[in-house]
């Protein structure tokens, strides 16, 4: 299994792809963005190399530069070479380059929804590169397409060839994308965040498939990702990028065992992990990545680095070889290698301690009983074709004061709809939502307005959750004025300043417009807006999933600190099981509109009862190559059924490894399997 340690398949040979000192600039109306500066890396045949970094660090741009697909005329390669199979790709003519793309190098993009052409059948899209590059006949192309679809695990390939992308699920589309990339037997595949848009169980299937294909067919792979767990499991070698430059380069195991750049150290520590005990708060990298229009001189990471020295801010650190195959662009890398991160002050001492016990009010703030939210979907013109999506179908839970309840599940499981129904953004079809004894599904008018003040929301996407035409100050002051919480404009403005400071921003930012802030800062403004009404209960709808790892940790810590200080109660909706484990007191796992399991956090993660919970936890990759490669994993088969046509009996039986005849007939009730540990499965 450990290809990285015991000699790479192609080690010693000359590299297949060699990027040398690549510089990419974008000339925009606001200035020149130096998006990639001096990037060099090698990929040998059959090897899987990862490019890791946060958004805007230049990882995707460098891949586009290799493929010569940079947006023109703004993007340009100003220096460097890309040697592939003995040729410099940057010197080829456009016609020659077209031959290379698709035939020698395949590419897989992040968004399987938009990277397939919606008006062409899948079969046509797979055979197209064959006609282009291999000049084979229609019969042979069709046979090859069938082979490819089977190879990427698409059942019923004959029929699937004729279908269009909208008839494929997200996971199936990504499989089809892989089939297209494989069509002409490429030597190299560049995969840009290939599983970021997919659910965790589907992600596991796709990654296993890619790894298996790459090994069997001897295809080298460049994997661009921000997910360190994925890197740990699949990559042989890793290149960490920060603010357009390489920070560190190493074999995967060595990198995870002992990172030699303070940024890598921080990155590894700020991810909440399932395999380690939960600390009281996450370690973070303070601050924000630099603006590439005006980057700091010297080391790009210096402004955020706990181990920085005066020299770091003046001299650009060279990418030095620290050990065999290990490079780090840090002036203190040698010290880091010998003394470890603690000695350089890179480890937060407090983070190791056990979390303080929470004392919870026994009275529930929110009680949900038998909640159903159904949507009518009219298919076709005739009302007889009406279908009902049971987004939430009989869910009950309660949340006590000061508690955080986590709601996890894959897309389409109804977790967001529950949050929206609680907020009265959707109307409940049946059931009750009791807020301190009053049924929220029935209140209206002034009473509803009063409840709206006490129940607030934080949204997922920091880019679209703030009105672009209002300043931050207006966004914060408006709800206070509408609810009469502040006597006048001046008091509201002063309070807005206080709120900004409370969420870790500065009062002067009230003058700014949302587009002048970074993603993490906007999310803080979103939190401040929720706090403006002094609520008691906040629905957090995936509040960190759109953020970069280092920013995510900052926001999680902020949410926890605010909860302690203000006595808030949270419903925390998320798909990231490690984040949920870190922040939640109790966790409910959902699947197709129903709760599968609900229990205290520690009980749920230590001893998951429901087969779905077990599969979910099993699918999450852990950012530690040694642990990760020892885990034998059986990815959950199949995909989530359409909520328009959910299975009879237990909704999970179509994918359940334990399913038997009884599960097809009986709808399992949520039962107390152990004290305060509920699960809905007849086999328990």
């Amino acid at each position: 299994m450990s290809t990285a340690a015991a000699g790479n398949p192609g080690a010693g040979l000359s590299p297949l792809l060699s990027v040398e000192d690549l510089h990419v600039h974008f000339v925009t109306s606001r200035g020149v963005v130096r998006a990639v500066e001096g990037l060099s890396y090698d990929v040998r045949a059959g090897e899987m190399v990862a490019l890791v970094g946060e958004s805007g660090c230049g990882k995707s741009v460098s891949a586009l530069a290799v493929m010569r697909l940079l947006a023109k005329p703004a993007g340009r390669v100003v220096a460097g070479a890309v040697r592939f199979d003995g040729r410099d790709l940057l010197k080829l003519t456009e016609d020659q380059m077209r031959e290379v793309r698709g035939r020698d190098i395949g590419m897989i993009f992040q968004e399987p929804m938009t990277s397939l052409n919606p008006v062409l059948p899948i079969g046509f899209q797979i055979t197209e590169p064959l006609f282009m590059h291999q000049k084979i006949g229609a019969e042979a192309a069709r046979a090859r397409a069938l082979d490819l679809l089977r190879m990427v695990g698409i059942p019923d390939a004959e029929r699937r060839l004729e279908q269009y992308p909208h008839q494929f699920s997200g996971g199936m589309r990504q499989r089809a994308m892989i089939a297209i990339a494989l069509a002409c037997d490429p030597k190299l595949i560049i995969a840009d965040e290939p599983t970021t848009a997919l659910d965790v169980t589907i992600q596991a299937q796709i990654l296993e498939l890619m790894k298996e294909l790459s090994r069997r067919l001897g295809i080298a792979m460049v994997m661009i990702t921000h997910n360190l767990g994925v890197v740990a499991r699949y990559a042989d070698r890793v290149n960490v990028m920060y603010a357009a430059r390489l920070a560190e380069q190493a074999a995967a195991e060595a990198l995870f065992a002992r990172p030699l750049h303070p940024y890598t150290v921080g990155l590894l520590r700020s991810v909440p992990r399932l395999d380690q005990p939960r600390g009281p708060r996450l370690e973070t990298i303070e601050g924000l990545p630099p603006n590439l229009l005006a980057p700091p001189p010297g080391c790009r990471f210096a402004p955020r680095c706990a181990a920085k020295q005066p020299e770091c801010e003046q001299r650009v650190p060279p990418l030095d070889e620290i050990g065999p195959g290990r490079h780090s662009a840090c002036l203190r890398a040698a010290e880091l290698a010998s003394a470890g991160p603690q000695a350089l002050g890179l480890q937060d001492a407090e983070a190791g301690a056990a979390p303080p016990a929470k004392s919870l009010d026994p009275l529930p703030v929110i009680e949900v009983r038998g909640l159903k939210t159904h949507f009518d979907v009219t298919r076709g013109l005739v009302a007889a074709h009406r279908a009902v999506v049971k987004a939430v179908d009989g869910v009950s839970f309660e949340i006590r004061r000061g508690e955080t309840l986590g709601l996890v599940g894959e897309s389409g499981c109804g977790k967001t709809t529950i949050g929206r129904t609680l907020l009265r953004l959707e109307e409940a079809s049946a059931g009750e939502i009791l807020y301190r004894g009053t049924d929220l599904t029935r209140v209206n008018g002034a009473l509803l307005k009063d409840y709206r003040r006490r129940i607030q929301v934080i949204f997922q996407d920091p880019y679209s959750s703030l009105n672009p035409r209002m300043t931050v100050g207006e966004i914060l002051a408006e709800p206070m004025r509408v609810h009469g919480l502040q006597p006048d404009r001046r008091a509201a403005r002063a309070r807005a300043g206080e709120l900004l400071e409370q969420v870790g921003l500065y009062a002067y930012m009230a003058e700014r417009y949302p587009h002048e802030l970074s993603g993490g800062q906007r999310q803080r403004v979103g939190i401040a807006r929720a706090l403006a009404l002094e609520p008691e209960f906040i629905v957090c709808d995936e509040p960190v999933s759109a953020l970069d790892v280092s920013i995510q940790a900052q926001i999680i810590n902020l949410l926890e600190a605010l909860q302690q200080r203000l006595g808030l109660t949270y419903l925390f909706i998320a798909h990231d099981l490690a984040v949920v484990r870190h922040i939640c007191d109790r966790v409910a796992v959902m699947y197709l509109g129903k709760v599968m399991e609900i229990a205290d956090r520690d009980a749920l993660y230590a001893a998951p009862q429901h087969p779905y919970t077990q599969a979910l936890l099993d699918a999450v990759p852990i950012p530690d190559p040694r642990l990760e490669r020892e885990r034998s994993r059986v990815p959950l088969r199949g995909e989530i059924p359409s909520p328009l046509d959910p299975p009879q009996g237990c909704v999970f039986h179509t994918r359940c490894p334990l399913a038997e005849e009884r599960c097809r007939r009986e709808v399992p009730a949520l039962r107390e399997i152990r004290p305060l540990h509920f699960a809905a499965c007849v086999k328990l």
Partner: protein, 299 residues
């Protein structure tokens, strides 16, 4: 593997921070040309008293149907009135009716579009079907009907009913375009945030949706000024708009001009040119404004 080299020394010219109007003129030369014509027309209309060589209403039976000459640049009509002066004064009618009708039609249409999108469901369905009915009539027929029913009602020198007749047929078109934008805005999380903060419908519509659909509104508004000028000319030509002796472009083409155009083609050529130029200028400007305000087309 080599170490990182220093960044190549490429010196880029610093981006200049230009005033948005200057930037628009530089990037949209056709739109700028349109804008120049529009500004000239507005100046002519406002300063008509001083710019026009003659009084547009003075009849001179000694000089009827005079050819264009140094005295009368664009000739005279069958009453001996100076055609250039009548065109300059005609700009007042064209622009006032054009702008007022377009502002009225676009604003009403935008409000209907936003409300229809925001409330959705049955209200949206009913409003949109009503708009479909209005759209099924040619705009000129609708305007003719309104003008014929309402008659004339001059307030402060502007025929209010003419403005209504021209503005109302534009409502459904604007309503559709603005509704489409508003539908996208309505789905944004910041609208959900406004709802969860307990804001009233009016506040959400006017404070949160309307400012985010101003781009399509402004584009429709400018494009329709040209349309409105054309419509005003058509209605005047058909005898339902301005009436003699008011100098109006459409009117100059009709009536006695039809009897005399073979002897005195300048009587119809120049007002016709004025109408075409005005409509062309507003269309050019409207198109450029659309490109300019569309962030997807910007680098």
């Amino acid at each position: 593997m080599s170490a990182v080299s220093a960044a190549p020394d490429i010196v880029y010219a610093a981006p200049r921070q230009r005033h948005p109007v200057i930037a628009f003129l530089r990037h949209q030369p056709l739109g700028a040309a349109g804008l120049v014509v529009i500004v000239l027309m507005i100046l002519a209309a406002v300063l008509a008293k001083w710019v026009a060589p003659y009084d547009p209403l003075t009849v001179d039976y000694g000089g009827i149907l005079a050819r264009p000459s140094w005295q009368h640049w664009l000739g005279t009509d069958n009453f001996g009135r100076d055609v250039l002066s009548r065109i300059i004064y005609g700009a007042q009618t064209a622009l006032s009716v054009g702008f007022l009708a377009s502002i009225l039609g676009s604003t009403l249409g935008a409000l209907i579009g936003v409300a229809s999108a925001y409330f959705g469901g049955r209200i949206d369905m009913l409003v949109q079907r009503l708009m479909d009915v209005l759209l099924s009539f040619p705009i000129i027929v609708l305007a003719l009907a309104v003008a014929a029913i309402l008659g004339k009602n001059v307030v402060l020198g502007v025929d209010v009913n003419l403005v209504l007749a021209i503005g109302l047929p534009m409502v459904p078109k604007v309503a559709r375009v603005v509704r489409a934008s508003a539908l996208a805005v309505r789905e944004m999380p910041y609208i959900d945030a406004a709802r969860t903060a307990g804001f009233s419908h009016a506040r959400i519509i006017f404070r949160h949706i309307v400012p985010n659909v101003t781009a399509p509104y402004l584009i429709m508004l400018t494009a329709f000024v040209g349309q409105a000028i054309l419509l005003e000319a058509s209605l005047s030509f058909l005898g339902l708009g301005a009436t003699e002796p008011t100098p109006a472009w459409g009117l100059m083409l009709s009536g006695s001009a039809i009897d005399f155009y073979q002897q005195a083609p300048w009587m119809i050529v120049f007002p016709g040119l004025a109408i075409s130029l005005a409509v062309f200028a507003f269309n050019l400007f409207g198109d450029s404004l659309r490109d300019w305000l569309d962030p997807k087309l910007k680098i």
